[in-house]
Symmetry: C2
Subunit: 391 residues, 2 copies
Amino acid sequence: MELKEKILTYLYYLKEQSIAGLSKSLAKSTPIVTKAINELLEQKIIVDKGLAASTGGRRAALYSLNENLDNFIVSISIDQFYTSIYLSNLQQEILQEEIDIQLDLVDPLAGLNILTQLKSFIEKHHINSEKIIGIGISMPGFVNMNTGVNNSYTEENPLHYLKKTIETALDIPTVIDNDSRSVAWAEKEFGGGIDTTHTLVINLNWGVGLGIIINGEIFTGATGFAGEFSHIPLSNTNSLCSCGKRGCLEVEASLKSAIDQTEIAIQQGEYSIYSTLMKTMSNKSDALIEAAKIGDQLVIYQIGKIGFMIGKGISTLLHILNPNKIIISGRGAEIGNILMPQIQNAVNEFSIPRIARMTKIEISTLHKTAQQRGTTALVVEHHINRLLDAI
Amino acid sequence: MELKEKILTYLYYLKEQSIAGLSKSLAKSTPIVTKAINELLEQKIIVDKGLAASTGGRRAALYSLNENLDNFIVSISIDQFYTSIYLSNLQQEILQEEIDIQLDLVDPLAGLNILTQLKSFIEKHHINSEKIIGIGISMPGFVNMNTGVNNSYTEENPLHYLKKTIETALDIPTVIDNDSRSVAWAEKEFGGGIDTTHTLVINLNWGVGLGIIINGEIFTGATGFAGEFSHIPLSNTNSLCSCGKRGCLEVEASLKSAIDQTEIAIQQGEYSIYSTLMKTMSNKSDALIEAAKIGDQLVIYQIGKIGFMIGKGISTLLHILNPNKIIISGRGAEIGNILMPQIQNAVNEFSIPRIARMTKIEISTLHKTAQQRGTTALVVEHHINRLLDAI
DNA sequence: TAAGACTTTTTAAAAATTTTAAAAAGTTAT
DNA sequence: ATAACTTTTTAAAATTTTTAAAAAGTCTTA
């Protein structure tokens, strides 16, 4: 059973694969993969897609997931202020979406609201819950995937037990993880991390998170807290952070900090198109990003500043972990071209050239979809076995 | 052959083991381990050591390396100013040693001097080179274990090709690694890292190095440069580092920095027993450590300062990697009790309590022997197969 | 453009390894 | 002293991998 699940997971990611290819990727012998493939064909979970283009020898037979399967995945991407819900199929396509539902996680009712929104999403689109393989949730905080608990909220807050709440209310297998780890996973499977083994993914959003991939696997540390990038002591200004400490990276290297600084400057009389945009847009970070794209001077200056601090943080990561690649992802990736020069400046200033040369720094090409893709993949990783059970 | 090597390596580390124990540690089935053990017994490489104390069931038969084997390991521990050469047996005992040979690595002849010293060591103690399983070298710098090259020195400098030079001159298999990684390996196998999977080892010496153990293995990063802890931007004073950058940790967190500061203070008229000690001792760090042990106020103050900076560095590591344990090792471990309170102060100031709580910070109990033990183990890891070939 | 050399996938047979079950050897509590 | 329980060791069965051979193509060159 185990092997079949792995095969299905690979086919989800890669869409088409040969027996030889699977055998190599899974480090399992050809005979055993052949046997599993034949059984999956028999069960009509996968289908034969004909022969691959030649690579210089006998052409390989390709297999893919059967696109006639009517099984779906629901994923919920949560950030500090907005929640999005998606319905996807096994071809990595989004079938339905409800994006940017305004939901401040500070609100003690947020957890229950998410459940309500999810229920109405399923009803509205007439989704047969029997056909949902699983529900994936990604959200900020100290999320323990194994216990399903978010330790950033007290036990009284429904967000603490969000996974369990949803799972029992809907009776559908549910899996939860930290937002930055989901984004990192998306980059590993679909983005710039496809062919690197040691990849760091910076999730630039309202805050600034880090997903660490070591030896091709998400690294969670000894107790699941690895990647708390945002609170390392790097800032010289010593401004107070929400965590109670001073000098945290997050204070000067997140979209929030750019927004705060921009708003302060505007209040002090500086001009910025940001204020005009905010009259029509409700999402501050969207307004900031839009202003930057238009070329607003103040906003670009503020974004440059966070870019420099991110670069300083990257210098630290570079020296300690010597990764193949560091990817700037998350909402902030959209203004990557504005961030990049300042990131590079800081890396030049704070890194040993010999070491910095070893790591490629990139802006994600996945943009907004990263979190959704990673969260959906999380369900595949954990509950693809339901495809086998169902038939 | 492969399995036998693994068994011998385990027996080297653990001295006595049962078939069941080996089977579990090596993740190999009992029948196959039994077969290998029987062959090794036949070859007289290992011996039966009788039954283990009971653990509530049938008593296990124990096996160990045959102590009558006359095979040895030579290890060379090199630091910025002193080189030590050791001869050890397979019972982890040091048979001969030549410690603290004064050898400044800045001297372009250092590489050749090391070879000369090694040759005379072997001659002086009448060591039969046929019986040397291998030579292990550990030294500071960007050492690539696979190519055997130290990239911190130019190709003209004999230190660049030290491994090859020694290997060809003596015709004995030689292996080289970075000093901090050797110390980390020693901590993992013999010290505080025995039963933790994610362990960081700070090698406090003339400089300050870091060995990273992730999933029970040395982590080298994408290109072998992981652990360049000493040059992350953490200092506020912006003093210039030898690497050319400003704000590097090393400038304020190494024994060198404590020595420099102490000497400056003495020149400015402050009293310290360090100056008296230096009249009889040639090794500055030994003098510093001795002064600290005696209770010299100035030295203790200066050591406290480096402790605080190390603690700040530890805070960064803590947040990013969430290890089970961080061990302060190397020469500086001897003054651990003086460092510790300031390390703890800094960790309290710069870490999120929830995260800091997860990681135990310890002073090494291996003291000076760490580097030697790690370097010797390096030979076992790479050349234990010579035991099999020889017979 | 056809033949031979070369690649790669697939199938089949042999070898190795693991898993499972049973036996052996102790220990501990009553 | 015996029954119940543990743990190691041995033996047999089941899996898995490795190796070799066959099948199916591609590509170069005469």
